[in-house]
C-alpha cells in the first residue's frame, strides 16, 4: 500500500462567481521515501492538490488516502488530528506568525497537538538545529532572511514528524544562495518513513525528484477539420473540456454559456454566421471557458489552430 494515494480526485471551487474545476479525476500514488515534484503553469491545480491532500479543501469526488486513512470526509476533531499528525505544510510565503519567535512558531504547533511545554521546546530546538538555525531560535521572522524563514517553516512542518510533507513553491521567494540550503533540506526530508510532495515552477528542483508529475490541462487529441450540424439545444462542447478546434458558424446561432457557482448559467455571447469562437482553449492549452450550445438548427466548421491562423481574418 502506498503512503499517499490520490484516486479520481475532482476539485471544484468558486472564483468570481463562476465554477472552476482545476482537478478532474486526478490520480497520484507515492510511497515512503519518495520526493515528488508537481510541475505546471499557474492555475493548473498544483496548490489545489496540495490543499486537498492537506485536508484544507473538500473535493467534489474522489479519494485521498494517507497511511490508509481516508482524508475525504474527515471533519471536526478527526480532521484537526489529521492536519496535526499526518501532514506538514511548507507554504510559498513562509507564513510564519510574525509575532512569534522562530522557536515559538514551532512550539505552537507542538503544543496545539497537546505536547507539554518542555517537550515542545525540546522538539523546536532540535528541529532548528536540524535546519541549521539553532542560533536564531529567539529571532522573529521579520529579522530573518527569506531562506532562514523558509527553513523555520520547514522545521515547523516537521514539528509533529508527519509522514507526508507538502511544499508549495518553497523556493519562490529565495535567491540562489538561499535556495541551495532549502533544496538540501527538502531532499533529506524524504526518508524511509516520509513522502515529500513539492509544487513548483522551479526546474532546479527536478534533479531532486524521484517522481515528476506534470499538472497541465487535459490535452485534446489531434483533430482535423470538422463540419457539424447541430440541432436546437445540442451542445457542441462543455465548459472545462479540452479543446482542439476553433469553430466558425456557417448558419444558425451558437450561444456561449458560463456556469455560475450557484448552478445557473450566464449567457456570455451569441455567435452568428461568419463569426468564430472557441479559439483560446486550443491556442493556449486551456480548458474551454464556456459551454457552446446551438440555439437553433446550426452548422459549424471546426479547424485546428494552424489552419485557423492561416485563414485568420478579422471578422468580428
Amino acid at each position: 500500500m502506498n503512503l499517499l494515494e490520490v484516486t479520481d480526485l475532482t476539485v471544484e471551487y468558486s472564483s468570481g462567481g463562476y465554477k472552476v474545476r482545476p482537478l478532474h479525476e486526478f490520480n497520484l500514488s507515492m510511497d515512503k521515501g519518495e520526493l515528488g515534484v508537481l510541475l505546471g503553469a499557474s492555475g493548473c491545480g498544483k496548490s489545489t492538490l496540495l490543499s486537498a491532500i492537506a485536508g484544507l479543501l473538500r473535493p467534489v469526488s474522489g479519494s485521498i488516502r494517507v497511511n490508509e486513512t481516508e482524508v475525504v470526509g474527515l471533519s471536526g476533531k478527526d480532521m484537526n488530528e489529521y492536519r496535526q499528525n499526518s501532514v506538514g505544510i511548507v507554504f510559498q510565503a513562509f507564513n510564519l506568525i510574525p509575532s512569534l519567535t522562530a522557536r515559538e512558531n514551532i512550539e505552537l504547533v507542538c503544543r496545539t497537538a497537546g505536547r507539554t511545554r518542555a517537550a515542545a521546546r525540546h522538539q523546536a530546538d532540535h528541529l532548528l538545529e536540524t535546519v541549521n538555525l539553532g542560533d536564531r531560535a529567539r529571532h522573529r521572522p521579520g529579522s530573518m532572511s527569506g531562506g532562514q524563514q523558509q527553513r523555520v517553516a520547514i522545521a515547523r512542518a516537521l514539528a509533529l514528524d508527519p509522514p507526508v510533507v507538502l511544499a508549495d513553491e518553497p523556493t519562490a521567494h529565495l535567491d540562489y544562495i538561499q535556495v541551495e540550503g532549502v533544496l538540501d533540506i527538502l531532499r533529506k526530508l524524504a526518508d524511509a518513513d516520509r513522502t515529500v510532495l513539492i509544487a513548483t515552477h522551479d526546474e532546479r528542483l527536478l534533479p531532486l525528484a524521484d517522481r515528476i508529475v506534470e499538472l497541465s490541462p487535459r490535452v485534446a487529441p489531434e483533430a482535423s477539420v470538422q463540419h457539424r450540424e447541430l440541432e436546437d439545444g445540442e451542445v457542441l462542447f462543455e465548459q472545462g473540456a479540452p479543446g482542439s478546434l476553433v469553430y466558425t458558424v456557417e448558419s444558425g446561432l451558437i450561444q456561449l454559456f458560463r456556469s455560475r457557482d450557484d448552478g445557473t448559467e450566464e449567457l456570455v455571447s451569441e455567435v452568428t454566421p461568419g463569426a468564430y469562437f472557441g479559439e483560446l482553449a486550443p491556442m493556449f492549452g486551456l480548458p474551454r471557458s464556456a459551454t457552446a450550445r446551438a440555439s437553433q438548427r446550426t452548422v459549424v466548421t471546426g479547424v485546428p489552430v494552424p489552419e485557423f491562423r492561416t485563414g485568420l481574418k478579422p471578422n468580428r
Binding site: S51, L56, L57, I89, F91, S99, V109, R111, T112
Partner: protein, 371 residues
C-alpha cells in the same frame, strides 16, 4: 502528553505575543477606552451622589417621622406652608416624644463676603442654596462636623461644598449670617448645598416673618394621626426628594450604557482590524490543526486583556477628573471593583464579531493559490 487545558495555553501564548507585537495600537486603544471607562465611572459617582446626598440630608435632621399637610407628597419638593403652631397638636400624638416645625425654602448667596476678622471679600458667583429653618437645640438641628451647632438668629450652618470657613459671613437673599458650623455631604437637587438657619430667620427670609412651617418633624413613631396632616417616614421623604432628579438619574444611566458601548466599540474595532490583518495567521493555524474554537478564544482573550487594561486606566483617570468636577462624585469600592468586571463583559462582547470571523477563516488561503 499534556494535561487537560494545556491546548488553550498555546493560543494564549499566540494572543499575548500578538498584543506585544501590535502593542502601540493596543495601548492607544486601551487609552481611548480607558478614558471612556473613566468618564463612565465618574458618571456612576455622580449618580451615586444623588442617592447619598438625599440620605445625608434627610438623616441630618434626625427625625423619626415627618408631618406635612395632607395631599402634599413631601416637605422638600412641594413645601406647602402651614402655621407653625400645628406642632403643638402633633406633640400630643401618642408615641411622639418631641416635635418641632421646620421651614424649607431656597435662597441665593455669593458665598463668603467677609472673613472672621471682618475683612471684606469679593462676592463669588451666585449660587442657590437649600434653606432649612429649624429650632436650635431640638429635633431638626443638624449635627455639625466642624464648628459649633446652630445658635442665634444670625448664625448659619452650611455644607462644606459652599466653600466657606467657620466665622465667615455669608449673605442669604441679602441678609448676613455668620457661619458657625459645617456639614459634610448635606446637599440635594444634584449637589446644591443646604444652609441651616433658625426657624425664625427662615420665616423672616421667606415669609416676611410669618410663623409658618413646611413640616413638623418628630422623635418617636406617631401612633395616631392629626386631622389635615399626613405622617411620612424617612424613606418616603427620601423618595419624594429624589423624584425631581429621577430623569437626570435615568439620563446618566443611559449615558453610562452608551459609554460602555463606545468602549466596546473601540476595543471591538481594534480587535476586528487585528483579526483582519491576522487572517493569514489564522489560516495557517487552522491548517496545522488548531481548532476554530481556540482561534475564537484567542481573540476573546486579547479583547479581555485590552478591556481590563482600559479599566485600570479608567480608574486612574477618574480620580483627577472627579476631583475637578463641580458636581459631587461619590464612588464606593464596589464601583471600582465593578469596572474590571464590566470591562471583561465589554471585552467579550466586543470580540464576538472578530472572533467569529477568525474562526471562519478558510485554511486553504494559507496556500497562495488555494481557494
Amino acid at each position: 502528553m499534556a494535561g487537560p487545558g494545556s491546548t488553550v495555553s498555546p493560543i494564549l501564548l499566540a494572543s499575548l505575543r500578538d498584543l506585544q507585537w501590535r502593542s502601540r495600537r493596543f495601548v492607544l486603544a486601551a487609552l481611548a477606552a480607558g478614558l471612556v471607562f473613566g468618564v463612565a465611572l465618574m458618571m456612576s459617582g455622580v449618580a451615586n451622589s444623588f442617592t447619598v446626598e438625599i440620605k445625608n440630608t434627610v438623616s441630618s435632621l434626625g427625625a423619626t417621622s415627618w408631618f406635612v399637610k395632607a395631599g402634599i407628597p413631601g416637605p422638600f419638593t412641594d413645601p406647602a406652608p402651614f402655621p407653625a403652631s400645628a406642632a403643638d397638636a402633633i406633640r400630643s400624638v401618642p408615641g411622639v416624644s418631641a416635635a418641632e416645625p421646620i421651614l424649607v425654602s431656597r435662597a441665593l448667596t455669593h458665598g463668603a463676603i467677609q472673613t472672621p476678622r471682618g475683612a471684606n471679600l469679593a462676592p463669588g458667583p451666585e449660587r442657590n442654596v437649600n434653606l432649612l429653618g429649624v429650632v436650635p437645640g431640638h429635633v431638626g438641628a443638624p449635627r455639625v462636623t466642624k464648628g459649633t451647632p446652630l445658635g442665634g438668629p444670625d448664625s448659619v450652618v452650611v455644607d462644606e461644598s459652599l466653600k466657606t470657613g467657620i466665622g465667615d459671613v455669608i449673605a442669604l437673599n441679602g441678609v448676613h449670617f455668620k457661619v458657625v458650623g459645617l456639614l459634610n455631604g448635606v446637599t440635594y437637587f444634584a449637589g446644591q448645598p443646604v444652609a441651616f438657619v433658625t426657624l425664625g430667620a427662615a420665616q423672616q427670609l421667606g415669609f416676611s416673618g410669618a410663623s409658618l412651617a413646611s413640616a413638623v418633624i418628630t422623635k418617636g413613631t406617631p401612633e395616631g394621626s392629626v386631622p389635615g396632616f399626613t405622617s411620612l417616614t424617612d424613606a418616603q421623604v427620601r423618595a419624594d426628594l429624589k423624584r425631581p432628579i429621577v430623569q437626570a438619574d435615568q439620563t446618566i444611566q443611559l449615558i453610562q450604557v452608551i459609554l460602555w458601548i463606545v468602549a466596546a466599540g473601540i476595543i471591538g474595532a481594534i480587535v476586528y482590524i487585528s483579526a483582519l490583518e491576522r487572517k493569514g495567521d489564522f489560516a495557517v493555524l487552522k491548517a496545522v490543526g488548531t481548532p476554530s474554537s481556540h482561534l475564537f478564544a484567542g481573540l476573546v482573550i486579547q479583547a479581555i486583556v485590552m478591556a481590563v487594561g482600559a479599566a485600570v486606566i479608567g480608574i486612574l483617570v477618574e480620580i483627577p477628573m472627579s476631583s475637578s468636577s463641580s458636581m459631587a462624585v461619590r464612588l464606593a469600592l464596589s464601583n471600582y471593583v465593578a469596572v474590571p468586571v464590566v470591562a471583561v463583559i465589554v471585552g467579550v462582547v466586543a470580540s464576538v464579531m472578530p472572533a467569529r470571523r477568525a474562526a471562519r477563516v478558510d485554511p486553504a488561503i494559507a496556500f497562495g493559490g488555494g481557494k
